[in-house]
């Protein structure tokens, strides 16, 4: 047995050091593509245990890959070079609310939705709402800087982090930020760590910001016979003095997919629908709803639905939620992208996506968070069909190119991981990537902290098959 493997055992009980093949394979994947067998899975339950693991890893130069619940869509937790998967999901779950400060201290394993659930008991909210919030850990959210529909009004994870506790790749414990909203002491390491995808250290605790929970919400669903008009309408609302909490778009293909999966009475002939949620005081909502209605009818919406009850509103949001499973019925493999463009460029991006769909002859469906320009072009394919997968890989590259051309970014939500690493330079330029590498080098001199992520290795290409 490896020497380092034996020393691991000094501070971590046997049953949390997994070496059986079945166990190792169970941590060889995430929700994206690729399968990589680690040498061992270590389930850490305390800061001390993480320090112990990092000391050993750094001494023996063994790679360590932090892992939450493995819902990453870009390959972040994959043990691409073997070594140790550090499972943080079994860490005792701690949610310590400081109601008066509007802050909360959490352990890395807490499921994000549970933070909001606790906060709501005190009429507060934790705003970031990735759709995987009921499954993913806050550690994963911090590492990926996750966001959801509410990002439009409230921002993403990084906008809600006040401080972090981190075990560095060399096994030191640091605290960044603090408990206050205002804090300008030194470099903002908190922001650097958030979104670093586990390449700079292991997050062992976080202090998050809470907001007062809005009193009420109003949903509006609008149909359009042209995608361009939908894009225009979105911009007009946003420049009219109203900031909705959510603005989602579904294209015709997604509408049809939902209707044949679980009929919800969506307009199957519409080129696109936009679903808006306004939140705030009930009286404000009445005024804003009327304003939105005016804008929409002026611009030529074909249908405006304003649900009167919570149930009706839920039904609309439920159908938005059904897009993912519904389109998965088209074909078994789902390649979900999150290229993001400036809001004004949504119509252009939609056009480009249509071209890509035709050029590469792929099943491409578009929906997403239109309010912040974060679209989810999804390609439905079959992983077993190698020829098709080659075309899909090309189509994905074309999507990245289109987003960058339009002044946007490779990833709005899912992170770079292994999947998008080869394209970073296109967006950031050689020097941009080089500066990031220098930061990485000084934090992690032995390159043991989640290697193979973010930065492309020589000759690395996008690969969407497991072998």
């Amino acid at each position: 047995m490896n020497e380092w493997l034996q020393i691991l055992n000094n501070h971590i009980p046997d049953q949390r050091i997994l070496t059986d093949l079945a166990d190792r394979y169970s941590y060889s994947f995430d929700a994206s593509f690729g399968e990589h067998l680690p040498d061992v899975v270590v389930q850490a339950k305390s800061k001390e245990e993480v320090v112990h693991v990092m000391h050993i890893a750094n001494r023996y130069k063994v790679p360590v890959y932090p892992r939450g619940q493995g819902t990453c869509l870009s390959g972040g937790p994959l043990p691409v070079h073997g070594g140790i998967v550090l499972d943080l999901s079994q860490w005792p779950k701690k949610i310590d609310l400081n109601v008066e400060d509007l802050t909360v201290n959490v352990s890395p394993s807490v499921l994000t939705a549970n933070i909001n659930k606790e906060a709501e008991k005190y009429r507060l909210m934790y705003a970031p709402d990735p759709s995987s919030a009921h499954v993913a850990t806050i550690g994963g959210n911090l590492a990926e800087n996750s966001g959801g529909p509410r990002g439009l009004k409230y921002g993403v994870t990084k906008d809600h982090v006040l401080g972090l506790e981190l075990v560095t790749p060399e096994g030191e414990v640091i605290r960044t930020g603090g408990q206050t909203i205002k804090n300008v002491t030194g470099y903002d390491l908190t922001k650097l760590i958030v979104g670093s995808e586990g390449t700079l250290g292991v997050i062992t605790e976080a202090t998050l910001k809470l907001l007062p929970k809005p009193r009420a919400a109003q949903t509006i669903m609008i149909s359009f016979d042209e995608v361009r008009t939908a894009g225009l309408a979105i911009s007009q609302v946003l420049t009219s003095g109203i900031l909705p909490s959510k603005m989602e778009i579904m294209d015709n293909a997604s509408i049809r997919a939902v209707e044949s999966f679980q009929p919800a009475g969506l307009p199957v002939d519409a080129a696109a629908i936009v679903i808006i949620e306004l939140d705030g005081h009930p009286q404000t909502l009445e005024i804003e709803t009327e304003l939105v209605r005016e804008i929409m009818s002026k611009i030529g919406a074909t249908q405006i639905v304003i649900p009167n009850t919570k149930e009706e509103a839920n039904k609309i949001w439920q159908s938005r939620k059904q897009v993912s499973p519904a389109i998965a019925k088209i074909k078994p493999t789902k390649v979900s992208e999150d290229a993001t463009v400036p809001r004004s460029k949504i119509p252009d991006m939609m056009d480009r996506l249509k071209e890509i769909k035709e050029t590469y002859n792929v099943e491409l469906v578009v929906f997403g968070h239109a309010g912040d320009g974060n679209l989810h072009p999804n390609i439905l394919c079959d992983q077993r069909d190698k020829e098709e997968m080659r075309r899909v890989e090309q189509a994905v590259e074309a999507i990245f190119e289109a987003a960058i051309d339009l002044g946007g970014t490779l990833s709005g939500e899912h992170g770079i991981g292994t999947m998008k690493a080869p394209f970073m330079e296109n967006e950031l330029g050689t020097v941009g990537v080089e500066m990031m590498k220098r930061i990485k080098d000084s934090w992690d001199p032995n390159h043991i902290m989640n290697p193979g992520k973010i930065f492309a290795e020589r000759g690395q290409k996008l690969v969407l098959t497991d072998d």
Binding site: L18, D20, L21, A22, D23, Y25, S26, Y27, S28, F29, D30, A31, Q43, Q69, G70, T71, D87, Q90, L111, S132, H134, V135, A136, S324, P325, A328, K329, P332, T333, K334, D382, Q383, R384
Partner: protein, 433 residues
């Protein structure tokens, strides 16, 4: 390799997009704290076995420790057919075991002795009665129950209810008619454990059906539903039992086939999965399946009952996983409980969390089952009920076990929904034919 891939449902594993949405729903992931014991992990291992990257032996433990509660299927956004994947995996594991000639496990003994025929179950019932009445240890020895000692069967025996005398059992007839004209004709599926261990509840079920104005037949040729066989990888046996039941109930020519055990019902409604689509037996199975109803469904549908006696009691309801996740029946039992005058229903926080009984899981994997039961009991005790209502014999025994473990036998009991309903004295309206 081809047949292994087919048997193990390799194709179906591709429906899993590894999103992890099933993780928070899975009881064994929660108590065993490893992805290996999660739905996503299990499906992945099945896939790896089909690809020859892992062995059937690697798959054994994760599959044997799965409760089969199907909570994962209810939350799965892509509708992965985990039930079929699980059964395929079990079959492959069982095939390998029997090929290797390894001596049979507990299950074999149970199947050979207890569950194979109605006669045996009756014997079990009778012997249990005899055992309880006489306290004769000899009974245990004769059935070589000592072999089960490490399996804690004795703990489970302790919570088996008082048994009716063989005479009472013998008195049962096969045809009951309501007083007035019958609303519909139903056949009652007695179930082997239900009939063996909860004979009284079965009698009460018949009574409720008749009082609701239904004509009730008990087809004599019926046998075990085959759920436990399928859960243990004995698909061929399970298929034989299915055929027997299909034949028996066809002869009865009824509108509905009613059962009162969530686990059996789940099996009955999936009989067609045992046959090739389009085959002769597939069609027969389909016709059978279309008539299957849980007793709670039929009671709600015919609305024949009016409860006359208030029951001033705080109760909680523990649904059967198979009823919720496989049969998709959730509201009828609650509707019926709420109809009972005087009753206070306090719902559990995590209704969909399995109790850990899961067929014979609590016999074969006692320790793991108790870990899950302890999670369940914490939730149960939070509602401070006087009674826990269930709809499946396995859950009923497990809840009784849970009450014992909590040391709460003085203040809490567990009852089948049917028994509660009859206690509320629904208006009488029948006679023997």
């Amino acid at each position: 390799m081809q047949t292994l891939q087919e048997k193990i449902n390799y194709d179906k594993t591709f429906d899993c997009v590894q999103c992890g949405y099933c993780l928070p729903a899975c009881p064994t992931y929660e108590t065993m704290e490893r992805e290996t014991h999660s739905p996503r992990g299990r499906i992945n291992l099945v896939k790896l076995v089909a690809e020859d990257k892992a062995s059937i032996e690697d798959l054994r433990e994760p599959i044997e420790k799965c409760l089969g509660c199907m909570a994962c299927t209810t939350v799965c956004p892509t509708n992965v057919q985990y039930g079929q994947i699980l059964e395929g995996a079990k079959e492959v594991i069982e095939d390998q075991r029997s090929e290797s000639g390894k001596q049979s496990k507990v299950e074999d003994f149970l199947f050979e002795s207890f569950f194979s025929s109605e006669k045996w179950m009756r014997t079990l019932g009778n012997l249990t009665w005899f055992y309880q009445k006489s306290g004769l240890q000899a009974f245990a020895n004769r059935l070589s129950l000592t072999r089960f000692a490490p399996l804690h069967l004795e703990k489970i025996e302790r919570v088996i209810p008082e048994q009716p005398s063989p005479k009472a059992r013998a008195k049962r007839v096969n045809h009951y008619k309501p007083d007035g004209p019958a609303q519909a004709k139903v056949a009652f599926f007695t179930g082997c454990i239900m009939d063996g261990v909860f004979f009284e509840t079965n009698q009460n079920t018949i009574e409720l059906l008749v009082r609701s104005g239904l004509e009730v037949l008990l087809p004599e040729q019926q046998s075990c539903c085959g759920a436990l066989h399928a859960h243990s990888g004995k698909i061929d046996d399970s298929r034989e039992l299915a055929k027997r039941n299909i034949e028996a109930f066809e002869k009865a020519e009824v509108n509905y086939i009613v059962n009162n055990a969530g686990g059996c019902g789940a099996r009955l409604i999936e009989y067609h999965h045992l046959f090739d689509e389009g085959s002769y037996w597939y069609d027969r199975a389909k016709r059978f399946v279309s008539k299957v109803k849980d007793v709670s469904q039929i009671l709600v549908e015919v609305e024949g009952l009016e409860f006359t006696k208030p029951i001033n009691r705080t109760v909680t309801y523990q649904p059967s996983c198979h009823m919720t996740n496989v049969q998709g029946i959730t509201s009828p039992p609650l509707e019926l409980i709420k109809k009972v005058p005087g009753i206070t229903l306090k719902e559990l926080d995590r209704l969909d969390f399995c109790c850990g009984s899961a067929g014979i899981y609590n016999i074969v994997n006692y320790e793991d089952s108790m870990d899950i039961l302890d999670v369940k009991m914490k939730d149960v005790c939070g509602t401070q009920p006087e009674s826990i209502i269930t709809t499946n014999p396995g859950c009923l025994l497990q809840m009784k076990l849970g009450i014992e473990r909590e040391g709460a036998t003085e203040t809490m009991d567990a009852v089948h929904l049917v028994d509660l309903l009859l206690e509320a004295e629904p208006k009488v309206n029948y006679k023997f034919c």
